[in-house]
Symmetry: C2
Subunit: 147 residues, 2 copies
DNA sequence: TTGACATCGTTGCATGTGCAATGATTAAAC
DNA sequence: GTTTAATCATTGCACATGCAACGATGTCAA
């Protein structure tokens, strides 16, 4: 007769980690599918490419710190990108533990296509949300800053 | 001499899908580790449990729609939960294609521990963000409503 | 009834993932 | 200078994942 332990009310749809996960999934899904179907690129690979488009001469460690991915994930993404001919991996001259990642010309051409796609998607989200976009931005800034 | 294709500027750290992914990862990580280390529960399992704590007599299909997970993910989470003794899977009487998921008494006891943990975490986030929490909420609401 | 089609849940398969352990290299300690 | 510790990137392993295919059941039309 003690089978029915009472449970507190809880609304998953208002739980912030859940809402963020769903929002991230929704917004990534459409773009990720385009990347995958048209270019054979996954999200981890895309993140590495974006960072290389900004700063060349980057190590796995640098990317790990900048794009919020585990180093093994970065390493495997870089290996796949190298196999696809978008990236070269060479030994760093000063510190031979480091790997120097660099876009190939073909990789640059790819990014010249991908980056406008991403920017257009960002613009589309911003247009759709209107004033709420700024709210979302300030909320995320607060959430992501310290810690 | 045409090696250097020019690339448009792009700031990954301001790209909304990326920011949302990082925010989701950060906020889920801490809680997920607690669930895993202390109770042996993963995030997909947790989502199923939360929904069962709210509404009993639920099918895999129902959960798939409510908690934003693929049906195969729900199915496997339910299988694991059954093996751990937190959930029972029985055949629905009316429609024998459906599986009726239900918390066991032990499952209810687990949730009586887990739900307050989640609520405390939610409260902590809200306290830390202050006014920005409301901004985040309204932004997410706008983003997630239609589609 | 029969047949065609839709729905539900599970599973096979290839691939991605986190985590710990490893080898290679460099830095620090003494 | 030698030993010890730290750092960088990769890899092995067990497991999770998405997706398509499947079997079982239910629905609908003729």
């Amino acid at each position: 007769m003690t089978e029915n332990v009472p449970l507190p009310d809880f609304d998953l749809s208002r739980f912030m980690p859940y809402r963020l996960a769903v929002a991230a999934q929704r917004t990534s899904e459409e773009l990720a599918r385009q990347y995958r179907d048209r270019f054979g690129i996954s999200i981890p690979e895309w993140r590495v490419l974006v960072h290389l488009a900004t700063a060349e001469d980057v190590s796995v460690r640098d990317i790990e710190a900048r794009v919020a991915m585990e180093k093994s994930k970065v390493s495997r993404a870089a290996t796949r990108l190298e196999a696809q001919g978008y990236v070269t991996k060479t030994q760093h001259q000063g510190d031979r533990r480091l790997v120097r990642l660099k876009l190939t010309p073909r990789g640059r051409e790819l990014m010249a296509e991908l980056l406008p796609l991403a920017q257009a998607y960002q613009d589309e989200i911003e247009a759709r949300l209107g004033a709420a976009f700024a709210h979302l931005e300030s909320g995320l800034t607060a959430l992501l800053q310290d810690k």
